[in-house]
């Protein structure tokens, strides 16, 4: 990488001189001001010239393009590489040729590998990093389109069947496409699960009346449980919420234990009554069983 340090009477003069030496324009370089100029008394005493460091940025972009061309040459894939600069610290390389399918690979696997490798190679040294993205005959764009179509189709399916759908593992950019397409969908919501190379999107139904699928159903189950225990509390129902409020979230377990001790007598009686009920029921059913066989004979 080309770096030039220049001193001049003021910043602009120093920068201009550096640019002349690098034969570059202002948007192609990174400018660091090492020392600002200082005007001394009467412009003589304590005056200090400005010092700037100018680094040629385009170097990395060119390096990426050359590397890609060489790699493709050794892979025996004849094609053209076009370099574009969509923004600061970005470089887009588009590959065009006959056998581009080989560069793309299955679901863009080779293209993603190439992109990752080039990013690592280009950003090996130097502090300012650039993001290299590679496209092969409009593959990225068509992939985005097909992902949008797929997500809309699956969203309709999820809405109909009320079952969540897991997609295959994708890269973060591809997952983002699905998240953004279904962001404003009123029937489904999306989330990602799994660890990075195998992270995948799940499309789930938003269910307003019930708990819904996935995460909300867990919440629903939990609230159901707590409701049940509140009911079994019986006469103590009023005291229990205040007891809970007194404790923090972390003390919930302890609070629950204290609650259990308090309710021990009622539960024991509840068990007793339940057992009694059961015994009565079995007696009844036994007598019913005795009766039922005789019933048909009577009729």
């Amino acid at each position: 990488m080309q770096i030039v340090e220049k001193t001049g009477r003021n910043k602009d003069m120093a920068i201009e001189e550096a640019l002349r030496e690098l034969n570059a324009s202002r948007d192609m370089v990174v400018i660091e001001i090492l020392e600002d100029e200082k005007e001394g008394i009467l412009g003589i005493f304590g005056a200090r010239p400005a010092k700037v460091r100018v680094t040629l940025k385009d170097d990395k972009r060119k390096l990426a393009g050359e590397l890609l061309e060489n790699i493709l040459k050794y892979m025996n894939i004849p094609c053209n590489v076009k370099l574009e600069t969509p923004g600061e610290n970005q470089a887009t390389l588009s590959i065009d040729g006959e056998n581009v399918g080989n560069v793309i690979g299955k679901r863009g696997s080779t293209l993603n590998a190439l992109e990752y490798l080039l990013n690592v190679m280009v950003n090996k040294e130097g502090s300012d990093k650039i993001a290299v993205s590679i496209d092969a005959s409009g593959y990225r764009e068509s992939r985005v389109k097909s992902l949008e179509e797929l997500s809309l189709k699956l969203a309709a399916k999820v809405k109909d069947t009320n079952k969540s759908v897991e997609l295959e593992p994708m890269t973060s950019q591809e997952r983002k496409v699905i998240h953004t397409t279904l962001k404003n969908n009123t029937d489904v919501y999306t989330y990602s699960k799994g660890e990075e190379p195998y992270r995948k999107v799940v499309i789930s139904a938003k269910n307003k009346s019930r708990g819904g699928q996935g995460k909300p159903s867990e919440d629903g189950a939990r609230s159901e449980k707590s409701g049940h225990s509140n009911n079994s509390g019986g006469g103590n129902r009023k005291r229990r919420p205040s007891h809970h409020d007194g404790h923090g979230k972390d003390n919930n377990a302890g609070g629950a234990n204290g609650g259990r001790k308090q309710y021990a007598p009622p539960t024991r009686t509840a068990i007793n009554t339940a057992v009694e009920n059961l015994m009565k029921a079995t007696e009844n059913s036994a007598s019913a069983q005795l009766k039922t066989p005789s019933a048909p004979t009577e009729n």
Partner: protein
């Protein structure tokens, strides 16, 4: 093929003079053993083996026409 590997490894490591690539040719497989300076080993393997796996993916697609398997190993 060997040139491709050496180009990739060269642009990944710092000590380019310590790269050794050995080709072992089999009937159905091509094996490459790569040796680099100890401080550069991590650079060609990458986080969770991401870099070495990316190289393997590239080699696989470069090999596609010959229908042979490519194995790339890093020796330490």
């Amino acid at each position: 093929m060997k040139e491709l590997i050496s180009l990739i490894i060269k642009s990944l490591v710092d000590k380019t003079d310590q790269i050794e690539i050995k080709e072992i040719s089999g009937e159905k497989t091509l094996m490459y053993e790569v040796k680099v300076a100890t401080e550069d080993v991590g650079k060609i393997i990458g986080k969770h083996g991401r870099t070495i796996n990316a190289i393997r993916t590239l080699l696989r697609s470069a090999m596609n026409k010959d229908n042979k398997k490519v194995i790339l190993e890093v020796l330490q």
